[in-house]
Amino acid sequence: MADVVGNIDYDEWNSTILALQVDVAAMQADVLAMQVDIAAMQVTIAALLVLTETGGTVTTTGGVDTIYLNNAPAALYRPVCVKIDFTNHGAGETCVVRVWYRIASGGNLIKQIENTYAAAQDPALISLDLEPNRYGIEVTIEKTAGVNRAYDWEVIYEV
């Protein structure tokens, strides 16, 4: 029998409250499920590669000078290209640009590309494609003939 006081039916109240508790419990389960989904999304977002750029100017010395070096990447990453500005490079001058990769942990950087640029360059901006890498990459320039000069450079990579 309903316990009625005045116009209040306590049995009806109780059943309503119980129903609300069930609804809240269901919502809590939904929120927990969403939190799991959000955590998974955060992991995915954190793993997205970020297209990044660095650059500078290297003045040749006559020896082998480093343009770009990533000697110990923390994880697999993807260099895209290196660009070098040969505007200052004149007639009678020669530069050798090399790209080196390390393909084994603790191994040496091994030369993969060696290009020689003699005399003024037209177009003056040279670009070399770079490849995905885990253990290290270096780009070097060596002035083998002519006056040492400043060369602007830029490397683009995903990490």
């Binding site: 955060q42 954190a46 793993a47 997205l48 590669l49 970020v50 297209l51 990044t52 750029e53 660095t54 650059g55 500078g56 480093t66 770009y68 070096l69 990533n70 000697n71 110990a72 990447p73 923390a74 994880a75 290290g136 995903e158």
Partner: protein, 233 residues
Amino acid sequence: MAVSSYDKLSINTNILLDLPYNEGSGAITSDICKPHHTFNLVNAPTWTSLVSGRGVITFNGVNEYLYASAASTADLDFTTGDYSIGVWVNWTDIGRAEIVIGRYGVDLDGWEVYLELNGGVHYLTQRHHHSSLVPARTGCYSVGWATGTWYLLGISRSGAFPVHYRDGVALGMTYGVGGLSDPDTCNRDMVIGTRFTKNDNWYQNMMWRPRVWSRALSADEWAEIYDEESGWF
């Protein structure tokens, strides 16, 4: 796999310096954000690889430091404007204040940040120098920066009362009377790991990825950086 752009990440808005120490070797380290400051490693601080694979630099607390010329860091001459400084630190005490980063002259101009163990309390102090004002230096500090532990050190400056963050969490601050005055404009080399004269106050132990922004990062942004990078440490 989708690729986003460094410059379009909201966290990198107005970033002026970002040194991830990717080189792992050699005597220079390159800035990966647009200004492309080049920092020189002096006296061969050690390139160190953590268990996680993350490359950091270890300073000996004796004579090793990094610097970039005044001319190449003019964009880091903060006066009235907002700025933020972030860097991962794991320091040990040498019995002296240890400069983390700065571009300053004591009681003259510029800004500096240093760690210090004094009376058993581990301080992070931020100072502004301004010879045009009295007193010629103003500062603030937070505490709890224990030695031998990796921390994400964050500073957001807007106005006279900057806030320090440790591991993405805002800290209780102590300010001098009136807070920090604006630094006087400074034309000096930027230093990491030593005082402006490059002959004392050496930083000892490890450091990774000094960053500087020309805006005040929010608490959420510091928490975001910590969430994304703490796994390396």
